[in-house]
Symmetry: C2
């Protein structure tokens, strides 16, 4: 059955039971009215929007609809977490070719609902519309609450701060390489099949340690963002916003390759993915010194230091490092 | 120049100066970080998402990019206003074929910015991504604040309430008919060219009396929504949510046709547009009696009465009236 075979209300009647939590504390008005109402106990609200597009951000031959829904939630929740906030609700706009199978849309809703539950984020509302043939576009907004803390911006890094990460690096990028490079994939599936499987999963369903965003804020993080376009590119953004440079520690980053990345890619390619791999949604934050890193929750590791602004925003062991990463139009 | 000729940061460097207000009170963190922060003085936030899709919600031969941006803001602000809130910020996700002219995107941003200024809604953030050939999809989220009032839901109408509208009815639908029906348009352009021009404009740039939403809430409105899919269809939604029926007053609705609608369409077709025309974004609200209608701001007119639930959710002068309106997939 395709979307075109049902009217909008019939589609919603199938989707809403999948999307709605059994209980949604903090949501006085949920989906179904002109707009939702969600509590904002701090008297302010954190808000971010991020999209996924069929053929650009996912391929149906790699990713199940559940994967797509999961990833969309994670990348938006990561942005809220990177401000030091906890997510309080999400809205989803789905524009789809009317020939899209209803089963695909229900699978998407399952993925959204599962990831929303994992991050304790109630579904507040959404919008359904038709789109051109072959087009499926998802846009999600996630709201969050700062718990009375100041937002942790990109611009607060100070010379002398340590730079630390929470969550994994390079795994999503390595999974993407396995999808794109048949020769690499064949070798990996012979030599390290379980590691290759896990890396592909990390690409389809990245993980963000979202609770660690608020923990970093409580611990006094001076600056933070999530690694969505690659460590070097995102560290460069933080450096430029703060008027500093970030000197990454090669030995610490090589330690990040241990395990699946090293087993599948070898040392050099594994390090390249740690430095440049996107869609990982680890948190990258600066702290006055290493003793300030949060010690509860997912582990933080020091991977560099904030230094005086130099020729390049990002250095690797003191040497300017070229920015690599993903651009949405230039590819 | 096409989007593909610029990288994402170059596109943003052109867009952001167009989109950002000179000052944005109530926005501690604007665009450029992982997420924005906006004040929520009531301790809760109203949130809604609505999309527009090229070829489905607009055609480039009718609508300028400024028109599209304007309409997208208005339809979202209308949803916030219909809860009794004032808008506090918006986020825009744009997914576009990389062949889309940069000029079109800048025109869209101009339309968004102008309508955002008219509704005192700062731009909080957004997302840019590529899309399939021929595809342009816009998704907007608007946030709002209730000023300490309870939200006005669809479900609060009580038997005996008067049903009133604020803003126009049928004008957007009439403009759409002029675009779709060449014969009608030729006759209108001979007999009432200025009226026809104004109706086409109303389709491309509908108007929502957004400040009247909060005024209705202050005046004690029992239920409210905005007329996005046609008066009968939306009154039916309010009726079903409230467990009542709405009896519309034919004489009052014929009075709504006076002027451009009557001049261009004649009496019968004008009344059909008042009853069924979508994308108008008037506010429809219920009040305990006619003496309660807000008397400041845009005028409210009584167009019906809430009655006991009967066979049909909507009656016209006591006779069940078929629901007419727009469905996004079935067309």
């Amino acid at each position: 059955m395709r979307l075109a075979d049902l009217d909008e209300e019939a589609v919603l009647a199938r989707l809403l039971p999948v999307l709605l939590h059994d209980e949604a504390p903090g949501v006085p008005v949920g989906p179904g009215d002109d707009a939702a109402v969600v509590e904002a106990p701090s008297g302010s609200v954190v808000a971010t929007t991020d999209s996924m597009v069929l053929g650009v951000d996912w391929r149906d031959d790699w990713s199940s609809p559940q994967d797509v829904g999961h990833k969309l939630v994670v990348q938006n929740v990561a942005d809220v977490a990177a401000m030091g906030a906890r997510p309080t609700g999400l809205l989803l706009a789905l524009s789809a070719d009317p020939a899209t199978p209803v089963e695909w849309v229900l699978g998407l809703a399952e993925g959204v609902a599962a990831a929303a539950r994992e991050s304790a984020t109630p579904v507040l509302g959404g919008d359904l519309s038709g789109a051109a043939a072959g087009s499926v576009v998802l846009a999600m907004t996630v709201l969050g609450d700062l718990g009375g803390r100041a937002p942790v911006r990109r611009s607060g890094a100070r010379v002398g701060d340590v730079v630390a990460v929470c969550g994994t690096l390079g795994r999503s990028g390595a999974g993407l390489r396995l999808y794109l490079d048949a020769e690499l994939a064949a070798a990996a599936d012979r030599q390290a099949p379980e590691a290759a499987h896990r890396l592909r999963s990390s690409h389809r369903r990245p993980h963000c340690p979202w609770q660690s965003g608020a923990e970093a804020a409580r611990a006094g993080a001076s600056a933070m963002l999530d690694v969505s376009d690659g460590l070097v590119r995102d560290a460069g953004r933080l450096a430029r916003a703060s008027g500093v440079s970030v000197d990454l520690d090669g030995a610490a980053l090589r330690a990040e390759t241990h395990g699946d990345l090293l087993d599948v890619l070898g040392a050099d390619a594994a390090l390249r993915e740690v430095l440049g791999g996107g869609e990982e949604h680890a948190l990258l934050a600066c702290f006055a010194d290493a003793s300030r890193l949060p010690t509860t929750g997912a582990p933080w590791r020091v991977v560099g230091r904030v230094v005086e602004r130099s020729r390049a925003p990002v250095l690797l062991d003191g040497v300017p490092h070229e920015v690599a990463g993903w651009d949405h139009f230039a590819g």
